[in-house]
């Protein structure tokens, strides 16, 4: 690896001021499982590496019955997986964590890193977008909050400006009768980037399986995780049965616009898989 200068800031303010000082020549490192691969393969050539993993106070999962969930950006995927709070209240997040690589990756990879690396297949993104999560960002000028759905601007890019880092993900309390499912499809099981990912978050009316609200979020079929809004329209307000699930899955497949030239799968195959996995996710969500 090309050498770099290495910093271990002990506060968010120190980190953001280093980033503001060194601008595009600096990169943030947390778990390092994405970043170091990119450095080794010469896709990025940072002169300065800012290790934020040792900044205290950014590794937490806390829930409040009114405010909802707050997850620190340095929370490891392992911690997400092990959290009984998440398994009980936000199981779609646990489900995404369980399909995230293997233990050795989960042990060091962070939620913030997965989101900020911003690959279109990021496994933590679709479920959180489906839950209407918000991203809290800290920078030299203070903090700001951005809906996670608007956080991603393209493959590998986010709204983070020079000097900013992601510090927290906030998730509101879901409405009653809400269930979320995230399914990842990859050839080598969970141990590679998703071919496609599908997250479905459904809120049902108290009886009759009528859909009160739904979010369907697709991973790796566009430059960023994307809402399948036409598919959502088909289901919203309707009683969910096999026929509706089928129409919805078709619509999601039509909406997906994966690029050609991917090493993982052709666009036709990805669209076909969107249909399969949207169906499976919807069935699981209303079971």
């Amino acid at each position: 690896m090309r050498d770099f200068e290495y910093f271990k800031p002990s506060t968010v303010a120190e980190a953001t001021s280093l980033l503001a000082k060194y601008k595009e020549e600096a990169k943030v490192i947390a778990g390092g499982t994405d970043l170091l691969v990119e450095v080794k393969e010469n896709r990025i050539r940072p002169k300065y590496l800012i290790n934020i993993k040792t900044i205290p106070g950014l590794d937490y999962i806390s829930y409040d019955a009114e405010e909802g969930l707050r997850i620190g950006a340095l929370t490891t995927i392992r911690a997400l997986l092990k959290s009984t709070e998440l398994r009980q209240r936000y199981p779609i997040i646990s489900q995404a964590a369980s399909q995230f690589g293997c233990a050795a990756i989960r042990n060091v990879a962070t939620l913030g890193g997965n989101l900020c690396n911003a690959v279109p297949s990021a496994d933590t993104a679709p479920g959180l977008i489906g839950l209407s999560a918000r991203a809290k960002i800290a920078g030299p000028d203070g903090e700001r909050i951005v809906p996670l759905e608007d956080f991603f601007t393209g493959s590998g890019s986010t709204v983070l400006k020079t000097g900013e880092i992601l510090v927290e993900i906030e998730v509101p309390v879901p409405p009653a009768n809400t269930k979320g499912v995230y399914l990842k499809y990859a050839i080598r099981g969970t141990n590679e980037l998703a071919v496609i990912g599908v997250a479905v978050v459904v809120t049902l009316e108290p009886k009759d399986k009528v859909c009160k609200d739904v979010k369907i979020v697709l991973g790796n079929v566009a430059p960023t995780p994307m809402r399948a809004r036409s598919a959502e329209e088909i289901i919203r307000g309707k009683r969910i049965d096999e026929a509706i699930i089928d129409s919805c899955a078709r619509a999601a497949s039509d909406e997906a616009h994966p690029r050609s030239g991917s090493i993982r799968a052709s666009p036709e195959y990805k669209k076909a898989m969107v249909k399969v996995f949207t169906k499976r996710a919807l069935r699981e969500a209303v079971a």
């Binding site: 390092g32 170091l36 050795a104 990756i105 060091v108």
Partner: protein, 160 residues
């Protein structure tokens, strides 16, 4: 820029001079001459470089040495107690769970971290636990059997 760091490996403290960009894998092998840990893909995909840090499995090829100062690092060399092999090592031998042996250190350490947390796994849980470690030679079934047997032996010792 080089700096001196303290690495604690298998209970021993070493002072090494490293560049910030040197991985733990490179330092273990080239500076500490602990060549049990292997470089397979160097990008975190194959598992051959797996070591334990504070008891948890980690890809040493994706770990900067400067970032693990003073943490407890365990390599394959740290498993046996003198002449006495760890139950996992013993079981791997008895079940023929290695041929070329290249994946083996990473596989055994991954299994150890897994069993330390889940002492009575199902066969499916064992398979899932080693899904991040690629083996070219054995076809995995002997590895799974070895881990299942070691689990029993380790659990028995823990109960005593």
């Amino acid at each position: 820029m080089k700096q001196v760091i303290r690495l604690v490996v298998n209970g021993e403290t070493y002072e090494v001079i490293v560049k910030a960009s040197e991985t733990l894998l490179d330092v273990l092998r080239d500076k500490l001459r602990l060549t049990g840990t292997k470089e397979g893909c160097d990008t975190g995909k194959c598992g051959a470089c797996t070591v334990l840090i504070d008891g948890q499995a980690v890809r040493s090829c994706l770990t900067l040495a400067v970032s693990v100062e003073d943490k407890e690092i365990t390599t394959i060399e740290g498993l046996a107690k003198g002449e006495e092999l760890h139950p996992l090592q013993q079981a791997f031998i008895e079940h023929g769970a290695l041929q070329c042996g290249f994946c083996t250190p990473g596989m055994i350490l991954t299994a150890k971290a897994f069993l330390d947390e889940n002492p009575t796994p199902t066969e499916d849980e064992v398979k899932e636990a080693i899904a991040g470690n690629i083996c070219r030679c054995t076809g995995y079934s002997s590895i799974v059997e070895a881990i299942q047997e070691a689990a029993v032996a380790m659990d028995k010792t823990a109960q005593q």
